[in-house]
């Protein structure tokens, strides 16, 4: 008998960690940008928070939307990478409750004041600490420690959250912690993509009858991560300085360098590899634009940053939602046209958002267009995927299990 109460542990929503978190990711993506667009376009008030509307916007998209995606990905992928048992439903439900409470706590913090802000901070820290507590033993148990970098990324997340709330409670502008979190998310995207791409690119090579010998090798990836980390540190310590510009250019070049791993011939132009590849293109373009703007002293840092956030973060999360979200429901990848259309729309949303910085363009119109594209993509995803994520598995598999091999 199917349990219809979504809060009950027997509900299929709790079959696997990604289910509630990916739904929350897509819902918050569409909802947060709808609110933001309403604020920019019609002056609809946003929840008053420390630092003002821009901090609300960035905080929610990073520590709300992106953190939900990271939590869903980590809870599902890390047990798979390390070959350990799935995370049980009860702690997942607890973590998800913390995520919801975090939204409520931060949104109310302006009205209630410092105590609510402190509680919101503790709730966010609790969510990340919970993830670390659940996943660290698995990552450390792997004798080769191949995936330990995810653990450090989660710990870094906790540090940034603590810093954000410490600054906000002290009355200082907490924006620098959010900018640093964008850098951290970029590193996480590079780490996650290296794992996902091995499967996707090799599957595409296999399909074309070529030998699936694509490997995401560490040296180029590590150079990119070092450059991104260096830029993030420079931006944190000396924002707006030219030194950060050179580091951003270094990051852009290192990301272009990283792309050469992907130059595997025509298989790259299959839809799945190409959509993932576009993430690196957007990331390189974003850092390139930031670097150029800082070195030449021109405008464009915000445009570059939105290529990173709307583009690289948005598209990579969309891809994870589509790949991990399908496979761990026991379904083959969705080969229908809406998936690549959504990816193209997100790419366009990022470019349009960046284009608002150009002189003489109707910036408000472009902002609205970019927001609508973004909202449309995630609404479309929800329409196609929400029934799958909130419904029971129909393939005979259980929990987080991947596609069940019919032959075996």
């Amino acid at each position: 008998m199917l349990n219809r109460n979504p809060a009950a542990l027997a509900h299929p929503l709790w079959l696997c960690g990604f289910r509630p978190f990916f739904l929350a990711t897509a819902l918050s993506a569409a909802g947060l940008i709808a609110l933001w667009g309403a604020f920019l376009g019609h002056g609809l008030p946003l929840p008053p928070v420390a630092g003002g509307p821009f901090v609300w916007h960035a905080h929610e998209l990073i520590f709300g939307f992106s953190l939900a995606a990271v939590a869903g990905f980590a809870l599902t992928a890390i047990p798979e990478f390390t070959g350990t048992a799935s995370v049980p439903a009860r702690p997942v439900r607890m973590l998800f409750a913390l995520w919801l409470a975090g939204r409520a706590g931060f949104w109310l913090s302006g009205g209630i004041g410092a105590p609510a802000l402190a509680v919101a901070g503790l709730i966010h820290l609790g969510l990340v600490a919970g993830l670390v507590a659940l996943l660290a033993p698995r990552l450390l148990a792997d004798l080769e420690r191949r995936h330990l970098s995810f653990l450090w990324a989660l710990v870094a997340f906790a540090v940034l959250i603590a810093g954000f709330y410490a600054d906000a409670l002290a009355g200082a502008s907490p924006a620098r912690w959010l900018h640093a979190a964008v850098g951290l998310l970029m590193i996480l995207v590079v780490l996650a993509m290296s794992r996902i791409s091995m499967r996707i690119v090799n599957a595409a090579l296999d399909e074309r009858g070529e030998s699936p010998d694509y490997r995401a090798r560490p040296p180029k990836r590590n150079l990119a991560i070092v450059c991104i980390a260096a830029y993030t540190a420079a931006e944190f310590l000396a924002p707006g300085e030219r030194i950060g510009g050179w580091l951003a250019l270094a990051a852009a070049a290192a990301l272009c360098h990283l792309q050469s791993d992907w130059h595997v011939g025509r298989a790259l132009f299959r839809r799945w590899p190409l959509m993932l590849f576009a993430v690196y293109v957007l990331m390189a373009a974003g850092y390139g634009l930031i670097g150029f703007a800082l070195v030449s002293g021109s405008d464009g840092v915000s445009a570059g940053r939105h290529l990173l956030t709307v583009g690289a973060i948005g598209l990579s999360i969309y891809m994870v939602l589509n790949i991990a979200g399908r496979m761990h429901c026991g379904r083959e990848l969705d080969e229908r046209l809406w998936v690549p259309l959504g990816a193209a729309a997100l790419f366009a949303a990022a470019v349009v958002r960046a284009a608002t910085a150009l002189p003489g363009v109707p910036a408000n119109l472009l902002l609205a267009l970019s927001s609508l594209l973004w909202i449309g993509v995630f609404a479309l995803w929800l329409w196609h995927m929400a029934p799958l994520l909130a419904g029971p598995r129909t393939d005979g598999g259980t929990g987080c299990q991947g596609i069940v091999d019919k032959a075996g």
Partner: protein, 268 residues
């Protein structure tokens, strides 16, 4: 033909691999920018100022004549060294006695600092072009000589015997057996020598000439113009990097690939 096509198809990938170098260079520029912020513009002007100065030198037409003079001297010295070093090195390689005899001499040449040769050259040639050309020649010669010597000495004796047994025509022996092997040693030596020539010529000019990049460096130093000094240095380095990585490195890779195959072949 297929070889040529494969080589041409490899060019985009080679150029794309340059992004790694660009990333490292940008990190260097960031470190430069940071050091400039710490020590001030008098000690170390920031990269932006230096590149602006360099662009000014190029725009005003001051840079090209100096670079051309320097390039001419470096090229003359280098070509002489390549001609003499390659020929003598190969000749010495053919005979065991000659190579035994020449090794200590080469060690002496390699061990003598270029600055010592420069002083001698200034005594012998004065302020003429001869001073930088001779210094470049004498600094590059031993490097090329050793390359040619090794290339000839390491020729596979069994292959030579086989070529004799099968009565290979001289032309075939030369172009398919000896030259590819020797060139795979010679070419890297030429590239090393090119780098040496470019560095040595600037040093020689700095001390002995009235024109060329080295002389321009001497002038900017006497004016305490750090920005112009760095701009000239940047011009020299950028020219060398461009020649090396756009022109010579791809050829070198090709040749070293040939040598690698040969080694793998002999290992198997």
């Amino acid at each position: 033909m297929t070889l040529l096509r494969a080589w041409l198809a490899g060019i985009p990938a080679y150029l794309w691999s340059g992004w790694g170098a660009v990333a490292s260079l940008c990190l260097l520029l960031a470190a430069w920018e940071g050091a400039s912020a710490v020590y001030g513009a008098l000690v170390l002007p920031d990269p932006g100022t230096v590149f602006a100065t360099l662009a000014g030198l190029v725009d005003s037409g001051a840079a090209w004549p100096e670079l051309a003079v320097t390039a001419r001297r470096a090229a003359t010295g280098l070509l002489l060294a390549i001609a003499a070093g390659s020929t003598l090195g190969m000749l010495a390689g053919i005979s065991l006695t000659a190579s035994m005899m020449s090794r200590p001499l080469v060690t002496v040449l390699l061990g003598t600092p270029p600055i010592a040769w420069l002083v001698l050259a200034m005594l012998w040639f004065g302020a003429s072009d001869g001073t930088p050309v001779f210094t470049v020649f004498i600094a590059c010669f031993p490097v090329i000589f050793v390359g040619a010597l090794q290339g000839t000495r390491t020729l596979d004796g069994q292959l030579k015997e086989m070529a004799t047994v099968f009565r290979l025509p001289v032309r075939m022996k030369l172009f398919d057996l000896y030259l590819p092997h020797v060139v795979s040693y010679l070419f890297p030596a030429w590239i090393t020598a090119l780098g040496t020539s470019w560095k040595v010529v600037v040093m020689a000019e700095l001390l002995s000439s009235a024109d060329g990049v080295g002389a321009a460096l001497a002038v900017s130093r006497s004016h305490l113009d750090t920005a112009a000094t760095l701009a000239w240095i940047a011009a020299v380095v950028v020219t060398l990097l461009a020649v090396e990585y756009l022109l010579l490195e791809p050829v070198k890779r090709e040749l070293e690939g040939w040598r690698r195959q040969e080694r793998e072949g002999s290992a198997a």
